[in-house]
Symmetry: C2
Subunit: 209 residues, 2 copies
């Protein structure tokens, strides 16, 4: 029994070290109805990267024209490179009932929220404690202490935006966290407002068809 | 890792024959944080019923006084008996982080929605088709056809209110439906606005405690 529904945009944000990338990978591997959003970028393609899969590679002139034409849901300049989410691609997915996953920070989420309206489901992943976050950042990197210190400050800044999200999940145990995020997706798919085929379906039941 | 949170009121509505009672029973048996709401009623206690567990039994005079004092979240008169949900009991549960399940129809849900504000999570269970609903109503009852016919009309009336609910789940397969309703509860428990202990928790992470 599948009722036609509009797709949703699921944003997963967290400080680096809270497990977001692992959670996203697991969801994408196990959920046929979820696709990663593909960003447009002006940065050079790296060996092994596929245009249209990893990124949509483009030139700065074209990117700037797309900004001027309001073709992005959100965009940012990171160092010398531009990154943005094309509206047309996402709208096409949503209108076909396909859910799109975004791995963006609080700034991207704020931009997205301006345009996404009812389509946005934003989830913030928190580490279980300061010491656990520190441990994970250490484990992950062979970097000197001052680099880790900078990363901790950046993490604290990201965490300070938790209150802008719809849902908050604390990643103490990865399996449980993945289940909790999957439950959020399942629930949001049963929101009445997304089930655009429901009105027709109910009519059939009431009219004895 | 348990963050202090406010409980929620979960309303499960459906036409008779859509499986609501079975779903509610399963949830209550498997979810320690969910309790059935206890109604106050003026009807006579039946053998085996326990006051304070099945119902809070009371006299009509006291019930009317409680109505006048605005002590119910919702109430109704069914034939000669009054039934109502006491505000104080529910508020006590919610403020202790306990979730409360309500098995009420669309009229009760409308009343509840007026007072519950952010605490309400309303779920409507639909049968997969007209013929399946008919089959289940037949199976359930040894009643004559005109009684079943009346019950079908009542079911159609209840179904017509589906659009007043937050979530809609189609009960085609009971195991799947129970999972879907449990996922809604899990998701709603991770709503940022319910996690009243989160602000303190985040402060500890950012301040390195």
């Amino acid at each position: 029994m599948t009722i036609e529904r509009r797709g949703l945009m699921c944003v997963l944000s967290s400080p680096s070290g809270a497990g977001k990338t692992t959670i996203a990978k697991y969801l994408l591997d196990h959920d046929n109805n979820l696709k990663m959003s593909v960003s447009m970028t002006t940065r050079k393609r790296r060996p092994g990267e596929v245009s249209g899969k990893d990124y949509l590679f483009t030139q700065e002139e074209d990117f700037n024209k797309a900004i001027a034409d309001d073709e992005f849901l959100e965009w940012a300049k990171v160092f010398d490179n531009y990154y943005g989410t094309p509206k047309a691609y996402v709208e096409q997915q949503l209108s076909h009932g396909q859910d799109v996953l975004f791995d963006i920070d609080w700034q991207g989420t704020q931009q997205l929220a301006q345009q996404a309206r009812g389509d946005l489901v934003s989830i913030f992943i928190l580490p279980p404690s300061y010491s656990e976050l520190e441990r994970r950042l250490h484990q992950r990197a062979q970097d000197p202490l001052d680099v880790i210190h900078k990363r901790m400050n950046k993490a604290a800044e990201e965490i300070s935006h938790w209150a802008e999200y719809d849902y908050v999940v604390i990643n103490e145990n990865l399996t449980q966290t993945v289940d909790e995020v999957a439950a959020i997706l399942s629930a949001e798919r049963h929101k009445r407002k997304r089930l655009i085929g429901l009105s027709q379906f109910v009519k059939k039941i009431i009219q004895k068809q």
